[in-house]
């Protein structure tokens, strides 16, 4: 391809003194100086959290207030930095929810390891673990940075959904039992 010679205009005397350019730059900075601050004053002002934000992972309860996790340990296996540690346990008889097979005896998420990838949320078959909008986790010791089960439920709270999978199972069991009688 042919070389195109760009004709450059020689600078005028005023341009070579730089003064008009400096003046216009000063006008720009003055304009910015008079504008309000763009930044947020953090602890008092908080940014709006967009939907789908990946914050601290936490366990949630269903609308009946029952823990949804059945300690299948899929999240523990999928977790890339191995931040989740689950001790499976069984549901105590006579609690009214003993149709559920299992429940976690202990559920620890080490927030010093967690990378907020959201794979636990994605893999959970029970929709029991969700990444919350909370983004600030601080502590003075390593032990403080491990979220135990009670803290996880405290952060997660109740998630309003309408699957009621275990209620359906209980109803079916009762219907089957009733059918036999």
């Amino acid at each position: 391809m042919a070389v195109i010679q760009v004709q450059r205009k020689p600078h005028t005397l005023m341009e070579r003194t730089y003064l008009p350019q400096i003046m216009s730059a000063l006008r720009t900075t003055l304009k910015y100086l008079l504008k309000p601050a763009e930044t947020m004053e953090y602890p008092e002002q908080r940014p709006a959290i967009p939907p789908g934000y990946r914050g601290v992972p936490a366990l949630v309860k269903d609308p009946n207030g029952r823990e949804k996790c059945v300690s299948c340990q899929l999240c523990e296996f999928v977790c890339p930095p191995k931040a989740i540690r689950i001790t499976p346990g069984s549901v105590a008889a006579g609690t009214g929810v003993d149709q559920v097979e299992k429940a976690p005896q202990a559920f620890d998420i080490d927030m010093l390891r967690c990378i907020y990838c959201g794979l636990c949320e994605e893999v959970c078959p029970e929709e029991a673990i969700f990444l919350q909008t909370q983004y600030s986790m601080t502590g003075f010791t390593r032990a403080e940075m491990v979220n135990h089960k009670d803290r996880l439920y405290e952060i997660g709270g109740v998630r309003p959904d309408s699957h009621f999978k275990w209620d359906v199972k209980k109803a079916a069991e009762q219907a089957a039992a009733g059918g036999h009688h």
């Binding site: 400096i22 900075t29 003055l30 100086l33 504008k35 930044t39 004053e41």
Partner: protein, 386 residues
């Protein structure tokens, strides 16, 4: 007894010295906070606004001071006083300690010859308020201010490491280059104010007096009659006070910290108080020479302004020396603060020059321009005054 003691020249000199230190030191420190605030506002940040002593929290009025960062300033000052004074092993100890002290001396000495206000005496004459009313004002400022460069060279050399040394070398070359054009640029002003047949004076009071005459030409500030001089002086002032875009001696991006790389704590802060004190003196010289000193507006001298106040309020209190003195000091300080703001405004607008550009601008552009300017005004003033 007290009167006798107060009128003793040595006591007076000590008092004046204390006044200089007690006034300039806080203003210079406040400038550092103003710099951070102006920087923040230009970058659309709030700037330092958090620090407040716990016992003042919630008291109305102090919240504004907190937002303006005044307690941050106090905290910084206290930090500089109390933190450990590092003294690296490889430095030349005596000169290393001497350099910041030397930085302070010219900065505070030049303040004494700068008049900062005036009052009208019984005879109707304007009496300037100045600590040392010498007749060689501008000469004294130039002579003493150029000593300030020794502190930079000494700091650079005594630090005994390469970046401070480079900073010191740059400082010496830069300050010598711009001193020439600075001196040449103010000569037309003094040529003009010293008409033949008058007792000659290089004092600032004469220059301001010359800009306070009634009438169109009498009240014109030298900024309007000598714009080129004012421009050269302003540019040279930026270079002399090591302000961006001329902060070659300390340019962080290529010299770490330049001449003060090896300094810390109070010694470091002394360099900065000296830099801001130099800026204050430079701004006052600029205001006196080109912005009419303590005259409120172009073509409105102080005396007419006081007359106007008297006319409006119907009281002669404005011509009382104390009132007139305070008004003139207020006007003059206002001008200095505006000039200081321009210093900061330019700093956060114009990027730093390359070193060869600094030299080229100084020797190949400003020096010939100031010589031409001097020749042109000399010829003009000759025909005007003959």
């Amino acid at each position: 007894m007290v009167d006798l003691l107060l009128s003793h020249p040595v006591v007076l000199a000590v008092l004046k010295g204390l006044v200089v230190i007690l006034v300039i030191f806080p203003i210079a420190a406040a400038c550092s906070m103003a710099e951070r605030k102006v920087c923040a506002w230009i970058q659309r940040r709030p700037g330092p606004n958090r620090t407040i002593p716990p016992f003042l929290v919630g008291i109305p009025g102090f919240g504004v001071l907190q937002r303006l960062g005044l307690f941050q300033l106090a905290a910084d000052g206290a930090k500089f006083l109390f933190k450990e004074e590092p003294l690296p092993d490889h430095v030349h100890r005596f000169y290393y300690t001497l350099a910041p002290v030397i930085a302070m001396v010219p900065a505070f000495t030049t303040v004494t010859v700068v008049p900062f206000g005036a009052y009208v005496d019984a005879a109707g004459g304007i009496v300037p308020l100045v600590l040392a009313n010498v007749d060689v004002g501008i000469l004294a400022v130039f002579a003493v201010a150029s000593l300030g460069i020794y502190s930079l060279i000494l700091a650079g050399w005594a630090s005994n490491s390469k970046y401070p040394f480079l900073g010191g070398v740059r400082a010496s070359a830069q300050l010598i280059s711009y001193e020439l054009s600075m001196t040449l640029s103010v000569l037309p002003v003094f040529l003009w104010v010293n008409a033949p047949g008058m007792p000659a004076s290089l004092g600032f009071a004469r220059v301001v007096e010359f800009q306070s005459h009634p009438g169109f030409w009498g009240g014109t500030w030298f900024l309007f009659t000598m714009p080129v001089s004012a421009l050269i002086f302003a540019i040279a002032l930026f270079a002399e006070t090591n302000r961006q875009p001329f902060d070659m001696p300390e340019s962080e991006s290529d010299l770490v910290g330049g001449f003060h790389t090896e300094y810390g704590a109070f010694k470091w802060s002394l360099f900065f108080v000296a830099e801001y004190a130099n800026m204050i003196v430079g701004s006052s010289v600029f205001a006196l020479l080109f912005l009419g000193g303590w005259n409120p507006l172009p073509w409105v001298p102080l005396a007419s302004f006081l007359g106007f106040l008297q006319h409006v309020t119907g009281s002669a209190i404005w011509f009382h020396p104390v009132a007139a003195g305070l008004i003139s000091i207020g006007i003059f300080v206002g001008k200095i603060l505006t000039t200081l703001f321009v210093f900061m405004w330019v700093r956060w607008t114009v990027p730093r020059f390359r070193y060869d550009q600094v030299m080229k601008l100084g020797w190949q552009k400003l020096l010939p321009l100031s010589i031409l300017n001097l020749i042109a005004y000399t010829i003009g003033i000759y025909f005007l005054q003959s």
